[in-house]
Amino acid sequence: MISQFPLLAALILVIIGFFAITLKKNLIKIVMGISIIGSGVNLFLISLGYKSAGVAPIFTNAPKLEMVLPIPQALTLTNIVIDLALVAFMLSLVILLYKHYGSLDIRNRRLKG
């Protein structure tokens, strides 16, 4: 059960992120929720590649032990960069929205129906 703990933590992070997006009414809190979901998915991906008593997957001067799987690390690095671009774009939209409407509340919307 202890070895499943990172997967459980990743699931809890994703649920917390969804709570933030669905229940909060402030734009910046919604962006934070997306970032938390991203962290949860990254943690889930990294912990998939774990082998007990494994070393980092680097070839130079490697000890003769088993290495953890390198592919999830590549997936996670790509995802970190993609989430960076998404959060940067969302925050710039938040800045422009605040300049237009003067408030960060999502109930202050014009498009409905």
Binding site: I34, F44, L45, L48, L86, F89, L93, V94
Partner: protein, 517 residues
Amino acid sequence: MNLLLHAPILAISIPLLGGLATPIITKFGKRVRDSWIILSLLFTEFLVLILTHDILSNGIRTYTLGAKFPTDTIPIANFIPVRIVLELDAFSVFMAITSVTIALIASIYSLKFIKEGTAKSKYYTLLLLLTAAMVGLVFTGDLFSMFVFLEILSISSGVLVAFYSHKGEALEAAFKYIVISAVGALMILLAIGLLYGHYNLLNIAALANVLKFSFSDKVALVLLIAAFAMKCGAVPLHMWVPDAYGEAPAPISAVLVVASQAGLYALFRISFTLFSALPTIEIVAWSVIILGVLSMFIGVIMAISQKNIKRLMAYHAISQTGYMLLGIGVGLAVIGNINALNSFGITAMEGGIFHIINHAIYKGLLFLTAGAIIYRVGTKDLNKMGGLAHKMPFTTIFFLIGALAITGLPPFNGFASKLMIYESVFRFSPLLSIIAMMVSILTLASFVKVFYSAFMGPKLKEHNEIREVPKTMLIAMLVLALLTLLVGLFPDIVVDNIISPAAHALVDQSKYIGGVL
């Protein structure tokens, strides 16, 4: 260099290079930039066309990135493909033709639609990035690169939705669009992680070979279907569609339609190629059918009551996506039963796939005419327009052709695909076919409303100085109207040569696996 051998990766990298080089080319002048854009898109279209010709005669083509020779997919020492493999079958090149054609026509239209001095070169950069992402999404044979291309598509189209950043509504629509896309894409990555953790494979063909349908695979399937259904705008996940399509510039709305169909492509690729041997595939198929019927019905009911011309057309895009989900969902439901599949299943899938290209053509035409109206009149509100047929005769004719095509009247192309869907769905379940026909009637009603209030009636005093739109915009609309008429008059040429191989390629899982392994 053998162009055909390297055409798959060139079709992704030429728009990418062209788009990212556009700000530098702008320094040489506006005409050089415009010809650079049109030449890049024309070259991509040429590459996709020669690929189509090759795949329709020779079968599946693969391209391995980073290998010594591009078609050896499995390295000698292993038994699984370890590099990123682009796998092109008939359905992929069909979607690629649709995407690149509509992107080309939209960029010809935006030569005059987007005014100078409003970051026009960055607009073209994003449009070419969007084309590269759409082509990359349909060409790839690898789950993770599908996710990466989906994210590139979301971010570049999100920035384009926020193009009119001096208006608050466009920013709000772009914020909603990007949050929804981000949530969907992160759930897709969670599902890919679940599949990878179980089988240690990311390639779609290799995964289809070893899939064992345990509970975590079913969870991954549900997450993937829900996230891709949200990307293509199925009810009840549709609420971002009117906001994003309504506030984007008109040529971008036409390209967003095709970008949403790329999400539809991914949905069907995963349901058919990965999960078609699932024992409870009927439950998945009925979920897709119910999503389709809900989209058709609620889309058109909300569309009749809109006052904003682009929101109305966006709700119709949701409704027509329901037709595609219905047609292909019926095909998915009978995939285990070989008699039913041969008698009406393949026809239903052909109808659904034919509807994809028809919808891209006539919805693109309708959005471009709405853009022409907004360009001259200056407002999107239907209550303030009237009597435009006196001043803009060509736009009226193109709008009439688009409206007749979307409701499914002969001899335009909407009728051919809707007839195939009605007849085959009727043999599956008559109630669904009757709902589809009622939705068609309501579509006609709402377009009669738009045509009457915008174009018919006496001349208004406030529209005195309105002339016809510039010639490049008229040429773009004319090409789409001619395509509507031609595909409608010769449907058998399109169906037998392009659509039928696509439907058979989707059903035949073993040929897709055999392309790589």
